[in-house]
Symmetry: C2
Subunit: 235 residues, 2 copies
């Protein structure tokens, strides 16, 4: 967590967030700070309540996992503020997104151009997701998959693998990281064609990274070269 | 900066990095820590020296801007270690990449699938970059451009704009952030067709974000909806 995030959370009068994230910051909260914890899938209620408290003149920290600007609460807060004509000052404090945390644990898979795609079709039509998978694969982007599976969504990762395999060899390195930097952390280095053989390890806390055509593995790590080796002698 | 990064830097015997980044962390360094500062474009020498010191048994912190795993030093360190048969333990500490920092200052432009593309053709052939721009634009990714220009590279941003304009309207929101969270910070909200009218503000410290087909501006901010408004009533 960044110093700026810690400062914002510890100085707020109200701290709101999905319960799991409130538990993760419980160690830095004070007893006099009001907590608004909601269940998953209650994002709209959570943001509405945070704005409501802020409009009453209270300082509110809305806590997300990773970076609030990547598949998290930053956009929804602005959308709600706009819809409600709410004029409270809002600051987004950037964080370390799952793709960056997972990449660090896998080695250096993101060293060249990459695309992030959420496989959740709750808010996005599946045909839009498929189109993005296809274009990202064809243009040789490293591909990071957010929300690869949940208890109810089990087919999406296999379908994504099949699409990318139309453009990349089955042995392309791929990594699955679950609960990065948390106590249940799990890191798995595998290949594109074997991505779906690890179903029970893939859940809402997982991020999947598929290498580009030049990604290699070394010492149990996944590395995408930037291109220095083409220009300089690296030994 | 994350707590983990601060801890690694302050506990190292040797701190290496591009001079500008060493200056940014000067405030937390101790006089007894050896500093290895190199000029820009000397990445290979910098990483080689960091590995050399580590192989001598010293603890070394190699400092980058943003996230070391995104267009920075993480990959090069592994490539060099592999080429030299160097067995020292290496930990990558993730950071807040430019795309996340710039997005936070612009509002919430990354709330849906995005692609990062470096416009530097020093290590990547320009035709590869063009292909990625075209596919990212056609698949309606939010597009983040790293290294949009340098003193010598002035044409790339205009060419990128022209390619994206084949797929998106000229009034698509776009943002330019330079030196995010540093003393020279500059934030500019503009449109896709006007991206090239700000040449003197765009340099190696800049990141450009181009919205997708649904990105809107509100109160001087740039917001990409995740899709909540299609499913829930947001007022």
């Amino acid at each position: 967590m960044s110093q700026r995030a810690i400062q914002a959370i510890t100085s707020a009068q109200v701290v709101a967030g999905y319960r799991t994230y409130l538990e993760l910051v419980a160690g830095i909260l004070r007893p006099d700070q009001e907590r608004i914890g909601t269940a998953m899938m209650q994002e709209v209620e959570r943001c509405r309540e945070a704005l409501h408290q802020a409009a009453r003149g209270r300082s509110v920290a809305l806590v997300c996992g990773g970076d609030p600007g990547v598949y998290a609460m930053a956009g929804l807060i602005f959308e709600l503020a706009r819809a409600r004509g709410c004029e409270v000052p809002i600051e987004i404090i950037p964080g370390i997104s799952a793709v960056n945390a997972c990449a660090a644990l896998l080695g250096a898979p993101l060293m060249h151009d990459f695309a992030t795609i959420s496989l959740s079709d709750l808010l996005t039509p599946w045909n839009v997701i498929e189109k993005r998978l296809r274009h990202a694969a064809e243009a040789d982007f490293v591909i990071a998959l957010y929300n690869p599976a949940s208890r109810k969504r089990r087919m999406q990762l296999g379908r994504a693998r099949d699409i990318v395999m139309e453009y990349r060899p089955p042995e392309t390195p791929a990594g699955i990281v679950t609960s990065a930097y948390r106590k249940d952390q799990a890191i798995l280095l595998t290949t594109l064609d074997s991505l779906t053989g690890h179903g029970r390890h893939v859940n809402m806390q997982s991020t999947v990274i598929i290498g580009n055509s030049r990604t290699f593995t070394w010492n149990g790590l996944m590395v995408t070269p930037r291109g220095y080796g083409d220009k300089y002698r690296l030994s």
